[in-house]
Symmetry: C2
Subunit: 315 residues, 2 copies
């Protein structure tokens, strides 16, 4: 039987750490870390996500403020709010829930958030820093995946990792993190030929295709470690619905370890948002007053990279 990589338990431990570090900051005379959450319109799924995030803040002692704007909010108005939050010293993290209504340019809005408060890690500067291994804020789901892998893998160097899916917010950043951890990394996607054979080479499989039970038992090498990022609601034969991952869970029991759905990556994503907010607040308040204090991810396997220090280019 494969070991279960229990996302809920790992998230619980991370929340405990975040809570401790938040109170450390407060005890040191700093402000309580604050997260501003912006929700535009009334998409029911977005409302649920935002509610979960705000409740999670309460659990770990992070102050949260919610900015609910009507669906017809203009772009300039939203940009003005972000600018005000950028300038607000009591706000250490800013999250703008996507998708945004059509009249708003998502790329422009996400790029307007100050990089040091961009706790989702979507700002081009943070994406660029992740890509070059020069610090910055790491997006929540990829960060959670790495932390989960770290619970079962001691040494990443030279392992073969296959990432299924190349989205900007999951597949590509995970590939970057695995590469920085010195894995050999293959990124596959909808146009990939011979996917089962490619996955069968892998020591680490990260499935982020959003295709229910795409990854079958015979795709998986004995002893591989699997993180299942997919989460899709599917109809059961009895007419009910259930949440299903990208991996046929029952078929991969010859793996060394596998994360379940639900209870895997999902809880980690929110825990990483809280952790990012705490880290961002710490960097802002305790960091040396340099132009670029950077975020401290010294507790991660890829710490040498995430802690920054390399230069952007040599030639």
């Amino acid at each position: 039987m494969a070991d279960i990589i229990d996302g809920r338990a790992i998230a619980g431990r991370l929340d405990e750490e975040t809570r401790t570090k938040v109170e450390e900051l407060v005890a040191a005379g700093c402000q309580r870390p604050g997260l501003a959450v912006i929700l535009v319109g009334d998409d029911p799924a977005s409302e649920i996500y935002v509610r979960h995030k705000i409740r999670a803040c309460e659990r770990v002692g992070i102050r949260s403020s919610k900015y609910a704007l009507p669906a017809d909010t203009g772009q300039e108005e939203l940009l003005a709010l972000i600018e005000a939050l950028n300038d607000d010293d009591t706000v250490h993290g800013i999250l703008c829930q996507v998708p945004l209504p059509d009249q708003i340019d998502t790329r422009l809005v996400l790029g307007a958030i100050a990089p040091e408060k961009d706790v989702d890690g979507f700002h081009p500067v943070n994406v660029g820093r992740l890509s070059t291994g020069t610090g910055g804020i790491v997006p929540c789901t990829p960060l959670g995946v790495m932390m989960m892998l770290e619970t079962v893998i001691d040494r990443f160097e030279g392992l073969d990792a296959v990432v299924i899916g190349k989205s900007n917010i999951v597949g590509k950043p995970i590939a970057n993190l695995l590469l920085d951890a010195e894995c050999t990394v293959t990124v596959t996607h909808i146009h990939t030929a011979g996917l089962p054979e490619i996955v069968r080479q892998a020591d680490i499989v990260v499935a982020a295709a959003g295709a229910p039970e795409l990854v079958r038992g015979f795709w998986i090498k004995e002893g591989a470690v699997i993180i299942d990022v997919g989460i899709t609601r599917v109809q059961t034969p009895e007419g009910k619905t259930r949440l299903t991952g990208d991996v046929a869970f029952d078929e991969v029991q010859h793996a060394r370890a596998v994360s379940p759905v639900p209870g895997g990556v999902g809880p980690m994503t929110i825990a990483c948002l809280l952790s990012n907010t705490q880290r961002a607040a710490r960097a802002m308040m305790l960091g040396e007053r340099s132009r670029d204090p950077g975020i401290d991810y010294a507790d991660l396997p890829t710490r040498s990279v995430l802690a920054g220090g390399a230069t952007a280019g040599e030639r």
Copy 2:
């Protein structure tokens, strides 16, 4: 016999196009595109590179200005120069030759160049945009590699590409471009186990390890396309030196096509610098006065991506 991917010839055609577009801009009443080249200290190799770049500008009608600063230049002084060049409307591209002296924080300096003038494509914003396929300026060597591949490959979708080397300025951005062209991409490096077997699966091999003749004939699948980015000066048995690539050129004649060293990627890198400068000038002077006009790479295979348009994140 493998076809030769003649970098000099392709660079010549690209220069011709750049020259034509520069004169188009001038004929349209715009300023002549201008490149500012900053050189700090007296590293002989850097001096040669800078001289080559300035001469290349002359060839295509781009104005160049050289700022040679002494080796003991302070960081603040350099940053002040960059700020002045950022604000100078007659300067459309800024290039700061690396390596920089030890007292200067390279990352800080490269990040101070305005992203729209960063014709090397090293600014985190440009790295991030390349990573997410949302426009930006593409670094010169990776851009040149894609253009070379385009001369022999019509359809990239689903091809297996292997990149050897994961540097920030070559390996990683090339992997991004190949991924955006819908290849299945594997990035390998010094810690990769079983490199010959991995390379033997590849339809496209980009060798950027800086290890002379690392890639041997038996590593290469019949009909593969090889771009050799490596360039190392090695000693010959006769006591002379010659430039050698990462690929054992004579052994890979069963490939479909291969780029030589010298005369391959090298000339393309400078041609792409000129092309980037022209494109940046065009975006600045002819682009709509939006906040983010973007660079036009519509002539590239990955045009849908490089032209921008996608948003940085959805969930």
